[in-house]
């Protein structure tokens, strides 16, 4: 899991530089809260303490990167405690959780503190995110270059597409993540936009949707979570496709401009069903020609 922490560093460092002091406070406090929650829970339940596997730190960092820089530290800590205690440990700890703990924590905060969580103003600017602009029909005001580098409003870690892709490439090269889920996710999403957004396959619109919001962070770092994604190769393709459709559905037809978090935790719950439907054919029963990894 240390590799994932390293891969998230470019995005985290950029977020802190871009948004300032409170972003740093959030990153540190939420990560610490997740690790402390895991330690205390396991200590008092007399379970082996597993904070050394870094999974709690990954959850904490991912949650912090999914928060608006205006969120007060205690709110972030509350989300971290919820993520580790309720979403992860109460379901049996690592490997047993049914949804991504960081996203579980984020959605808990989104529902509880909707105003603060969606206030993205910074540096005295109104803080309309590119996705919100697109949703309001003000696509002309977005700047694709700024979305690539990350000099836009958004959550701490989601804004810089370049920083996120650098981390994703690192994980792909190391073989920590597989390209199947994210690539299928993005392809399906693009297809869905082209068919149902009303903008057709307008490249500027599609590029803005791909670079805006939490899509890159979600697709490369959270949809690829081992425990909450299918283990079967075909299942991973279907899972990616469902993610793309749901994200498109939530973004275009939903009330909010963003939809990645809900798309992922909803799809997490479908994983056991997807796996059952995609049991690989065995060797000698039609499975001998399955693709090689």
């Amino acid at each position: 899991m240390a590799e994932v922490l390293i891969a998230l560093m470019p995005a985290a460092v950029f977020g802190v530089v871009h948004f300032g002091r409170n972003a740093l406070v959030l990153v540190l406090s939420v990560t610490a809260a997740c690790m402390a929650t895991e330690y205390l829970y396991q200590y008092f339940r007399h379970r082996p303490v597993t904070i050394r596997d870094n999974s709690a730190a990954v959850t904490g960092l991912l949650l912090a990167l999914n928060l608006s820089p205006n969120v007060p530290w205690w709110m972030g800590v509350l989300g971290g405690v919820f993520a580790i205690l309720v979403v992860k440990q109460l379901f049996g700890g690592i490997g047993q959780n049914i949804m991504n703990p960081a996203l579980g924590g984020r959605c808990f905060l989104l529902i509880s503190f909707a105003g603060t969580m969606t206030n993205f103003s910074y540096d005295g600017m109104s803080g309309a995110t590119p996705l919100a602009l697109i949703k309001n029909g003000q696509i002309a005001q977005t700047n694709l270059m700024d979305m690539m580098t990350g000099r836009i409003a958004g959550t701490i870690g989601e804004t810089s597409v370049i920083a996120l892709l650098a981390g994703a490439v690192f994980l792909l090269v190391l073989g920590v993540i597989d390209f199947k889920i994210p690539v299928m996710y993005l392809l399906t999403f693009v297809l869905f936009l082209g068919l149902f957004s009303g903008h057709g396959f307008d490249w500027y619109y599609i590029a803005s949707e791909l670079c805006g919001g939490g899509l890159m962070l979600g697709a490369w770092f959270m949809a690829t979570d081992y425990t909450t994604s299918p283990i079967t190769p075909n299942g991973q393709l279907i899972y990616g496709a469902i993610l793309g459709i749901l994200t498109g559905l939530f973004r275009i037809f939903g009330s909010s401009a963003e939809g990645v978090s809900y798309a992922i935790i909803f799809s997490n719950l479908l994983v056991p069903l997807i796996e059952r439907a995609t049991i690989p054919k065995a060797f000698g029963r039609g499975g001998e020609r399955a693709w090689a990894k």
Binding site: T232, P233, A282, F283, G284
Partner: protein, 449 residues
Amino acid sequence: MKSRGFRGGIHPYDGKSLSKDGIIHDCMPSGDLVYPLAMHIGKSSVPVVAKGDRVLAGQKIAEAEGFVSVPVHASVSGEVKAIERRDTATGSRVMSIVVANDHKYERTELCAPDPSVLDSREEIIRIIQEAGIVGMGGAGFPTHVKLSPKEPDKIDYIIANCAECEPYITSDYRCMIESPEKIAGGMKILLKLFDHAKGVFAVEDNKKDCAETLRKLTEDEPRMETFVMKTKYPQGAERMMIYAVTGRAINSDMLPADAGTIVDNAETLIAIYEAVMEGKPLTSRVITVSGDSVAKPGNYRVPIGMNHIELLEAAGGCPKEPSRFLSGGPMMGFAMYTIDTPVTKTTSAFLCFDKIYAGAQKPDPCISCGRCVSVCPENLVPSRLARFAERGAAAEFIHWNGMECCECGCCSYICPARRQLKQTISTMRQILLSDRKKQKKDDKKGETK
């Protein structure tokens, strides 16, 4: 020569350099020799000698019980000391014939070598059974049964399994270096049995020297061919090998013959050659003694029935007290509960390890990383199968193709959480297989009533 492979598989440290250059040494036993009556798959053999009888090396001391069974021959001359239950390497106590070695090594042959036997199919198969030949790669399935498929005309490939994909083992490699003509000779005999078949020597590409030797040796044989495969574990597993050579895939309900193939291990071919052409029964085999705590790792021609302790002494013993003894390779072999057990027809290697190995470490929870899925040559989902096995969920286990597992152990090897996936799956398979057998028996009983 092309190079073909299969999906999945692993590349473990092969450790072959330890023993690869060790010329095959003959081993002379000093203590008693123990011949378990069940060294093969099928019915146990039945003793034809009694306590106190004098036997000669090569003499039949137990005969086959039915078709799926083979006789046992003494490997030394001496007196039958006892017929009793003795420990074997697998940990079970098996009825065995114990012979006290008189160190005279007086031999008797199976029959005088007679080239005319080659004209008769039945005669060749009879000699192979009489010589007590079983698959020497490790399974121990009687070879004459393999050679008697229902439709012999449909066999178009005889594959000599020269892959030796197990780490550390070099016994087949040495056989290929030292007596390739016997391997080719064995193949020639088998080709006499199957008119439409082509003989293929399937060698991994880390043994190109052997492939070259075999190819040169059989240049003038139109029906023989040398096939080079990618070096990858488990390339030597029957199903993977058939797929690599012929492109035909068989599942757990099929026999190689269903895909028109017969697969025999390289050393088995040597045994066939020696039985048919030289009239020698199977009384010895080549064993690799290796591992990081053996003084003189190497390859030894060991009389069957010799004690593992003596074999270890022959290899210079262990300077450091080893923590594990393995019979067979590190992937498919098994840890021995005691080494005071005899070498059998299926013992391909005897490994002694000092280092603490992964199995001794505590497993972590499974996080579904999918490494096991990517290496499984049978295209299964080991992580899920192990979970069903732990819960005893038989229906789910079968639904997820658990019975197709070939127990190669790639999943356990690759698991970053050090989970004993293969062991868990294999236990469940054994339980389900014995349930099936019982079910069949009960069904038969019901019918006869």
